[in-house]
Symmetry: C2
Subunit: 230 residues, 2 copies
Amino acid sequence: MSLGDTRENPLKLVRVNSLSVLVQEEIERMILSGEIATGEWLNESSLAQRFGLSRGPVREAFRALGESGLVRIVKNQGVFVREVSVVEADQIYDLREALDELVGRKVAATATRDQIKILHELLDEMDTATGANDVTRYHTLNLRFHDLLVESTANAKLIITYRRLIKELHLFRLRGLAQFGGLRNSNEEHRMIVKAIELKDAETAGRALKAHVVKSRDRMHKAYGVNAAD
Amino acid sequence: MSLGDTRENPLKLVRVNSLSVLVQEEIERMILSGEIATGEWLNESSLAQRFGLSRGPVREAFRALGESGLVRIVKNQGVFVREVSVVEADQIYDLREALDELVGRKVAATATRDQIKILHELLDEMDTATGANDVTRYHTLNLRFHDLLVESTANAKLIITYRRLIKELHLFRLRGLAQFGGLRNSNEEHRMIVKAIELKDAETAGRALKAHVVKSRDRMHKAYGVNAAD
DNA sequence: TTAACGTTAATCGTTGACAATATCTTAGTT
DNA sequence: AACTAAGATATTGTCAACGATTAACGTTAA
């Protein structure tokens, strides 16, 4: 597959974004979709050949992906999809606790009616997915839910920081278990969060979102059999 | 000046790090030291010539720096040192509030005796700098103080996230006023933080650190004549 | 004054080459 | 058969030169 195959207006894409940015986005997509496994080696020249370009843009994309934490670059050996350990996932959850509390507080103040409407739709869809025991679908919706929350804060720096962490957490998920279970409980927590947002109760929304992250982490630990004392 | 001029064991440096990493670090140093002004254009080929290299490593360093938020890359125009607006600095302070509260809580649990000793030394040095009205010196020590705090949390993800934000905040400082004043108050807040850490009182340390960030932001606003409602 | 045109300079991307390094293969030895 | 060492191979790191694309600027003409 070549990059030129992009469906919507490929010419404009190349005019606005450089090739290295397009390559970066494509590789990121491949990593996050699991198309490339964690730990896997990314061959510079074969990727270039696959995209129909030279090694230059691919190497530049690698450097950017390295800085964003998705790949690990080893001199004279190459580029590998990063493997996120349980310890590191745990550290990310620490951060998410703090950031999500902030998200809750801010979103309660800034969320628009439209955004809240979409949140409700996502809640219902997640219930449907839970009923059908469709874990993959739930996971996708869950990502969208939290991404919409952070996006509604209208704090650009918070948004990109948050998304970076979510991507790395996703690397951890890809590593082993697809999901951490407890879908029903999880969505009940989601509803409490949305309720607080509707009431524009920043304090409660922040606490609810933080508590949700704490419990998500517990579910992760349980799934991995990690001692709570770790 | 060529990169080969590095003082300590240049050969080993090149053997371990690729040239693009060295270039990245050097450009980052130039940006953060103010050697290159915010908004300034970074000429690809003249930088390459200056370092005595080809354009390849420089371009790769640019991509990494772009991802880290220190430069802005415009296709077909080039690379510019990012300019951080007051609005953006404000968003970063929002994040710092949340992160520093986390830092306070964690560091109270994890800080070693040695680390606390260094914190005390920094406190005293900052008092000295305040007495001498040496704002630049105070600022350096202040950076070291907060960096040591976050480093003492032993949470790698928190450390790199925090440092990234501090670097961008530094870009904002470079833009205009060197400092935000209120040195004496600031160091009194520092002492309260360290006291809570010594008592291993995580809750108080977190609150104190968060409060410190809130006040730092206020001092920044005051210096810029920004309305608190913004 | 404004619009069109051409020049210039920079980035973007390609290609081909070579060196340095890592990895795999193979032959030889114990 | 197992281990070792030398050599072959593959990959990354870096460079140099080239053409294409684009943005910026100055000039000219209406």
